[in-house]
Symmetry: C2
Subunit: 680 residues, 2 copies
């Protein structure tokens, strides 16, 4: 019995996160109390008082959700801030990553969901100040607060997913493995990558183009020096069964004669300062303007620009820097240099030097800059910092809406760095600029169900880590999780160790590992499609499926993936195995490759399971099955003609296999479902 209550507080800004009409409640807000609290971001006790909504937590209560964030599946015990931020250092004491996903479910003495539809800064104290209090503190009390009730956590999540609309579905080739690196400069660099994979027999479907492919980092341009005939090169790659996936950044370079800039200026499509002049930020291209993607007309205009690349054969994109990141603003840099000049003949003391350093470091993503420009939200002029968390959503919506017009018959790949709930209808996200840390392998796993709760199904982390230097064993272990994530991409930053799979000594292991991904595609794709179409989660915490099992409810390093399997990757270096809890009897599947499979039936209970570097282990649930097929070097080779079955069926069971051509949009066509049966 699910119930949705909407409490409209103050004057909320329309985000279009929710697509269903939910009437406003008039009664009192249940569960919460308004309390005057000391400012929760202050650590000492001299903060100012502010209004918070407080919920009293029971010792056993758990809190799930918050999408892309640090820490556990159970979010309890930390303070989070909804404030889309370009910060590549995802340590556990950060409060914000790239997205703002204000949906969570409290599960315990009372079980209910909360969605805070609020695009400004929001502080969520999940038992940080006091272990027994959850406090909600938005910067301003203008928001829609939804309370969701239901029979179970899963029921509440499904209800939420229904009201926010169907999740984005990518083309099927986007489930293939992709290689990326900031630093592929030209055609030859990309050919080298493709050759490296093909010659080693390691499957590959796409190569991502980071900012290097553009001419001076200008959106919707291609550097002709390094890509003299881009459409021809795109075609050459297609012959190799490789999709090129270019990046698009939020900022548009200020450059006379550059079409995108000129059009934006002429039509007033860029964000403006109070005096009506375009705001000047600086990102990769140097000085830029930001398209006002919260304005319908500007959004439509910006979306149409993707045509430039679609027309050259491109079928997928990633939207980046759309928090939006600001390396510095023109004004802030000027003011900083002026202040430094004033120091010139002064004998600076220690604290002045610190202030000087902080000032220079603080040039990036400065709150004053975010408060200094405005959006025209279809008539209403609104300061950016009040709608900050909608920017990435707006940009990706621009692309998504344009694709519907430009390519009505075809799925286009699109995923974003920054996001807000609602954006999940237009594209996926990747988990941002992570690091080659073992702890980020586990963080990757923990984010999956939290993101799924918020509608983001097409997602994955930069396998091997973006920043810092990877080790071969970390990459192998991370890929053993990555083979299950819809977006499976290896990506690394300029200046880090080269981390394409063929750069290491044990290429054979990578070949087999990725081969397992391709071989399991019948299951992976079916589960993705069914989750999207039925508003369900693809990755589930054990807590959601075994709510009566006290131990299962605490598990933070195992997940259910789809209806049939449980995954439990190794995430510590030098370990040759790990502890795994089976909440019910399961069949252990041990694969060295898609052809080398061993299975073993295990009873419910705790196990230490050996998992070598060259193995993938997962578990099949009772009366469930996993269709798989022969592997291939790229998605088109996976014909799925001969479907094999791994199963743990003792009676009779049915599996709904989803098969379509992978690029058309008639998702609901009943012919796409093929029923597989096992009878014993």
């Amino acid at each position: 019995m699910s119930k949705i209550l909407r409490y409209s507080i103050g004057n909320p800004i329309k985000t279009e996160a929710v697509v269903q009409k939910i009437p406003k409640e008039k009664g009192e807000l249940p569960y919460f109390k308004y309390v005057q609290k000391m400012e929760v971001t202050k650590q000492t006790k001299d903060g100012k008082e502010q209004d918070s909504l407080v919920y009293k937590l029971n010792c056993e209560d758990k809190i799930y959700g918050l999408g892309e964030n640090v820490r556990g599946i159970n979010k309890r015990g930390w303070i989070y801030k909804s404030n889309c931020t370009d910060d590549p250092n995802h340590t556990e004491t950060k409060s914000s990553l790239y997205g703002a996903h204000n949906f969570f479910v409290i599960d315990g003495k009372e079980t209910f969901g909360v969605f805070l539809d609020y695009p400004g800064k929001l502080i969520l104290d999940m038992g940080y100040q006091r272990m027994d209090e959850l406090c909600i503190t938005p910067e301003e009390w203008n928001l829609d607060l939804y309370i969701l009730e239901g029979d179970s956590v899963l029921d509440i999540v499904k209800t939420f997913r229904q009201i926010i609309g169907r999740s984005y579905i990518p083309p099927k080739w986007a489930f293939g493995f992709g290689q990326s690196r900031w630093g592929y400069q030209n055609e030859e660099d990309i050919r080298t990558v493709v050759r490296g994979y093909r010659e080693n027999g390691i499957p590959l479907d796409s190569v991502y183009l980071d900012i290097d492919y553009m001419e001076q980092f200008k959106d919707f341009t291609v550097d002709e020096k390094h890509f003299p005939n881009f459409p021809e090169f795109v075609e050459e790659m297609k012959q190799e069964h490789i999709h090129l996936v270019p990046i698009i950044d939020a900022g548009v370079k200020i450059e006379e004669g550059y079409e995108v800039y000129e059009e934006g200026i002429q039509n007033g499509f860029f964000c403006k300062e109070q005096d009506g002049k375009e705001f000047v930020g600086a990102v990769w291209p140097g000085k830029v303007h930001f398209p006002d993607v919260l304005n319908k007309r500007a959004r439509k205009w910006f979306g149409k620009k993707y045509k430039y690349l679609l027309a050259q054969g491109i079928e997928g994109f990633w939207n980046d820097m759309n928090e939006p990141a600001i390396f510095y603003s023109e004004k802030k840099l000027e003011a900083t240099l002026k202040k430094i000049k004033a120091m010139e003949n002064k004998n600076m003391d220690m604290w002045e030097v610190f202030a000087f350093r902080d000032m220079v470091m603080g040039l990036s993503n400065h709150p004053e800059d975010y408060a200094s420009f405005y959006h025209d939200m279809d008539g209403t002029i609104i300061c950016h910092d009040k709608v900050h968390n909608l920017y990435g959503y707006g940009m990706t919506r621009a692309a998504g809406e344009a694709f519907e017009e430009l390519e009505p018959e075809k799925r286009i790949l699109i995923f974003s760095r920054s996001s807000y709930i609602g954006m999940h209808r237009y594209g996926g996200i990747w988990m941002g600029d992570n690091q080659s840390w073992w702890s980020h392998l586990l963080l990757n796993l923990k984010m999956l169900p939290s993101l799924n709760m918020c509608g983001f199904l097409y997602t994955g982390a930069d396998l091997g880590g973006f920043g810092s230097n990877v080790t071969e064993d970390l990459l192998l272990r991370w890929m053993a999780l990555g083979i299950f994530t819809p977006l499976m991409r290896n990506h690394a930053a300029l200046g880090t160790r080269e981390q394409e799979c063929y750069q290491f000594t044990q290429t054979e292991l990578f070949r087999k590992l990725i081969g397992i991904r391709y071989g399991m595609m019948p299951y992976i794709y079916s589960e993705y499609m069914k989750a999207a179409l039925n508003h369900e989660m693809l990755f589930l915490p054990l807590a959601f499926v075994y709510p009566e099992d006290r131990h299962a409810k605490e598990i933070e390093d195992q997940l259910l993936m789809g209806e049939s399997i449980m995954i439990a990757p190794v995430y510590t270096q030098n370990a040759t195995g790990r502890y795994i809890y089976l909440p019910e009897p399961m069949k252990l599947v041990r694969m060295k490759s898609i052809e080398e499979i061993e299975t073993e039936i295990l009873e419910q209970g705790h196990y230490y399971i050996e998992i070598a570097l060259d193995e993938v282990v997962f578990f099949i649930r009772p009366e469930k099955m996993v269709p798989y097929t022969e592997s291939g070097q790229y998605m088109e080779e996976i014909q799925e003609k001969e479907i094999k079955l791994l199963h743990f069926v003792t009676g009779t069971a049915e599996y709904k296999l989803y098969q379509d051509n992978g690029y058309e949009k008639d998702y609901e066509n009943p012919n796409h479902i093929k029923k597989l049966h096992v009878e014993n």
Copy 2:
């Protein structure tokens, strides 16, 4: 059968790490091969070639040691750099922390120890570039390389500990709990802390004075405004059974009339540049000179300065900033400001702004600064960067040698941030400026045995974490490990959440937890003293004690502490228990307080053990016992008159209890050993 081989390569600098005379070997170096390798610090393949010593690793080989460092007990799979560094961001991809501890043991197809007595930069690739190679690459080939062989890892470690000399022994009160915070400004702040503990009945023995107590951060001064009568205040605190422990920094403020500065200048005791002028760095006091603690006369002079505080009743110190940290140098700051000035009327592009930012950030701890000043090592002028890793050692040795003269009859507490093997004879270390990260709780545990291998027994981490904001549960869990570490101190940085135990809601839990520490003092102190006197480890990896147990050899989150117990703290948030492996039958001890104890005998095997936030769990080994006593509010209250016993003895067993007055130095007096017997 232990064997020590010394290979003297080039022209090694005398570090006095080793105190035994070991003859030079003339034959060929065993185990290793010289190989021309690409520069290992380069990630791409365009590095220059350099000589490395390479050892071929077997798949099963493990590598233990390296003292204070990131990553596992098994150091395999990363690249480390011996280069004492003030970097508070101890993420897993760092290569250097504050110490340089170049001793490790390879355990596998061949088992042997290696000590690289080399005070310059040293790169240790422990299977990073290739998983099957260990490479040693010093900046210059001037070093003493020791190969140690023995019957077991423990045997090799003991041999090493013997040749480097007996570990430092602190006064017994230094095993009590201490509170610290950067930011206690004056007498009243400290009284508030003491009151907070005493009123809540939480045991406390010391309060640490961070840089705030000094007058303008000048070493060997006390700010008279905030501490108008320091000796009286020290005495007042002693009446409360509280020891004040002031910090001493490496840099000496440049200030005319300031005695330490004037004496240093007059006697030429500061490090100089090539032209003979004193090098000017800047740290907390602003511009400073660095005492040349590698020079015997200067060291003697600096050590004597501690008398200023000893004479006022102080009995313990911590030496900080002695990597030495340099916030900036006079020259580098000038050059930077000049460069910024040149930018003034230039329209900077993106890359120039990045370069500008990097330049400002790079002011701290700049390699050029370390290469620009010199030591006079008793006649030999040597550039700092060639002996960089000896500085903290020299500073702490200055103190240690002085204490022997100034207080020959009394133990003085001293521990340091930076260190090198050899310094362990003069003082302890704390694990530096860690963070309030759950991962640092585990890192704390992992560093303990590695540090013990290198001679550092008196050690511990800043409980709760120094940087970032702690949560109550993290502090509780961390303290549950901290009650076993010789140095047990809660310390936090300015601007972070107040983390004294009485700041939280569950003060009762902290009271009982620290009470367990005090109650177990008979065991903790006995084990420390025996480890120090017999050159043994206090904390041991299971691998060292159960070398035939394949599973035990991999365990990275349990330790043996002393001869009788195994510890296995909870280190993940929201967990109510954890997996624990018992390599042999053990008796589980569950304490809610030193008076509320439950036990249970468990067979060898894997367990999931529930451990609530209000519990300490540890395990007693077969035929072993743990003496304990009534708890108290401070160490003097622990009379150890009534010794109680926890034990898992089925036959007969003996335990050597070490009891002395805790401040005298007749460590070897046989009367200090009392034999306890259990017979069944």
